[in-house]
């Protein structure tokens, strides 16, 4: 911008100077506008990425409504007793500051008993019950209120949750220890694994590290054993393609998609995963 003035104009008329100043300021304004708006465009990426589904906290609205209503304050992060909820970063492409759950690292085990994250949400991005104007996808709603195994003996054993956040699916049956008839002994995810889980026989109100709770089972059934929801998964006898009988974990309708099975699976990589945002197909 500085090459404009030839030396002849020793006494430039002030009006022209002013004009040029104004023009330069206009250019700078356009530059800053462009910069801010350009950066803002990156904020829309989550909508593009919405196809890669991420597990959201329990009670989350459908993805687009969730992104619209989340105020990105992280109060759900703060109340979670196992810190299953994390906030997304710039590169995650699912919304800066928007909460998600990485179930393999730390699943929601409902050890708060009451879906505290929903209670904490100030804007209704996480809800017990959707407002009337938002539709419920077919197969998303749970047939009945999920019964929490941990409080089965309580007067109110159910969770206040109307819709599932995903559905568990056995993705690698060939590697599943149960199907192979194998047992498991030791720490499920190694000594350095940070994930925590509530073990009722240890302490109802204090989840402990999974690495502090080694297992010794003759036939692996960890996904069934640690599933917090009653009737969501069981070991069934099934027929293999060759006609022989074998055992296999089978997911049932009450599955809410919390991800404990994905976290606890001792095989690397996991044999069972949560399909985030998936609905129940009969």
């Amino acid at each position: 911008m500085s090459e404009s003035k030839p030396p002849i104009a020793a006494q430039p008329p002030p009006s022209r100077e002013r004009l040029q100043q104004a023009r330069r300021r206009w250019l700078r304004t356009v530059l800053l506008t462009g910069g801010v708006m350009g950066a803002a465009l990156s904020g829309f990426l989550p909508l593009v990425y919405a196809r890669t589904k991420r597990l959201r906290p329990p009670g989350a609205l459908d993805e687009k409504d969730f992104l619209a209503s989340c105020i990105k304050c992280g109060q759900c992060v703060q109340v979670c007793p196992v810190q299953a909820i994390k906030l997304a970063d710039l590169v995650d492409g699912i919304g800066v500051g928007v909460p998600y759950i990485d179930a393999r690292e730390q699943a929601c085990d409902f050890s708060c008993d009451a879906v505290q994250c929903i209670l904490a949400c100030p804007t209704g991005a996480l809800v017990y019950k959707k407002p009337a104007f938002l539709g419920v996808r077919k197969g998303a709603s749970l047939a009945s209120a999920p019964i929490l195994k941990a409080k089965e003996k309580d007067p109110e054993p159910t969770l206040n949750l109307k819709e599932r956040i995903g559905v568990a699916r056995l993705t690698r049956p060939e590697a599943c220890l149960a199907i192979q008839g194998k047992g498991f002994k030791g720490q499920v995810r190694g000594a350095s694994f940070k994930g925590r889980l509530r073990y009722m026989e240890v302490d109802r109100w204090k989840p402990i590290g999974i690495s502090e709770h080694p297992y010794d089972v003759a036939e692996c059934d960890l996904c069934v054993r640690e599933c917090p929801v009653k009737g969501a998964i069981s070991i069934e006898t099934v027929f293999a393609p060759d006609g022989t009988k074998r055992k296999s974990p089978v997911v049932h309708e009450p599955c809410v998609g919390c991800g404990v099975c994905e976290m606890i699976c001792p095989v690397e990589p996991t044999c069972i995963v949560i399909d985030a945002r998936e609905v129940w197909n009969t």
Partner: protein
């Protein structure tokens, strides 16, 4: 409020939305008298001013108080989470103070526009914060709470050092841009159903980084700071941030403000040099004050830098009505 101040009141609202500050068309007789008197005794006054200047110690009373409040407020968020003391849970966008909802006005507005559904907690939190800043001075949110304000203040020091060394110059930008960005982000939220401003809000990004740990989104904040250091002084707060405008509007009727006294002012303009929003201090320019005592307009962040800087005490904090009561 007399007719001169009333006209200025509306004038200052227009200035907040981006109009250039300009000479007032009419000045009260009392103020005019002082203006004339000052012109007559110019030389003496100037000497007096120089003397006052030499004797004046650099004070940072209000700046220190403000930094202490700002840091304490942000640390309270952090510690509430880290040590689970549960006093102020959440982040600046939305939080709970001992269980009571507080929601940032601009974030709330974005969510309401995008989601088009307002739940009770959102109303409670927004209402509380609205009343809070209506009482405490609107944009005082910016200088007393916003974490970006503090880092931008430090970046500004580097910028001013570079300007002094003649390595950079401050490139000013059209202030109407802020109003434009407010409208654009509001329209985008309503039209796309997505709170896009929240993704780039340095206030939200910094607040979350302080509480939940650093994130890559800080790179955007860094880019803004670099822009401010090398190109345009305090550019984000001055020309772009819609949060500032939202709180500015809330502060229009706030009783807390800076008051200017024409009588004792030497018109040296030091206050305008330290001010984040110097257009609100146009009234200190020689011959511009429309009355003897003038409340500074709503775009003022009540940061108190001018109060610290003024060698004659012509700028002071004032609570409307309270001074009359005392």
């Amino acid at each position: 409020m007399n007719a001169y101040l009333k006209r200025r009141f509306f004038d200052q609202i227009a200035v907040m939305f981006g109009r250039e500050a300009r000479k007032p068309p009419a000045i009260s007789p009392r103020a005019q008298e002082i203006h004339i008197l000052k012109r007559a005794t110019n030389k003496e006054r100037l000497q007096e001013a120089m003397l006052a200047h030499e004797n004046a110690k650099k004070v940072h009373t209000w700046r220190n108080r403000r930094w202490a409040v700002l840091i304490a407020a942000n640390l309270l968020f952090t510690f509430s989470f880290w040590f689970d003391i549960q006093i102020l849970e959440g982040a600046l966008t939305a939080s709970r103070f001992i269980g009571f909802h507080l929601i940032d006005l601009n974030s709330a507005l974005q969510v309401m526009l995008a989601h088009k559904h307002i739940i009770v907690n959102l109303v409670i939190g927004t209402g509380t914060v609205f009343v809070l800043w209506l009482v405490l001075g609107g944009r005082s949110f910016c200088s007393w709470v916003c974490p970006y304000h503090l880092v931008a203040e430090w970046a500004e020091k580097i910028h001013l050092y570079l300007v002094k060394k003649k390595l950079v110059t401050d490139q000013n930008i059209d202030r109407r841009l802020r109003t434009l960005s407010w409208i654009v982000f509001a329209v985008l939220a309503a039209a796309t159903g997505y709170t896009v401003f929240e993704a780039i809000s340095p206030t939200g990004i910094l607040s979350r980084a302080l509480i939940y740990g650093p994130a890559l989104a800080l790179l955007w904040v860094l880019a803004l700071l670099v822009f401010e250091v090398f190109f345009s002084r305090r550019a984000w707060c001055r020309y772009a941030c819609p949060i500032g405008l939202t709180y500015g509007v809330v502060g229009i009727f706030s009783p807390v403000r800076i008051k200017y006294k024409l009588d004792s002012c030497f018109h040296e303009g030091d206050c305008r040099k330290v001010c984040l929003v110097p257009h609100v201090l146009d009234t200190v320019i020689k011959g511009r004050a429309v009355d003897t005592e003038i409340p500074i307009g709503p775009d003022c962040t009540r940061c108190g830098l001018c109060v610290d800087t003024c060698p004659t005490g012509s700028l002071t904090f004032d609570v409307k009505g309270l001074s009359k009561l005392l």
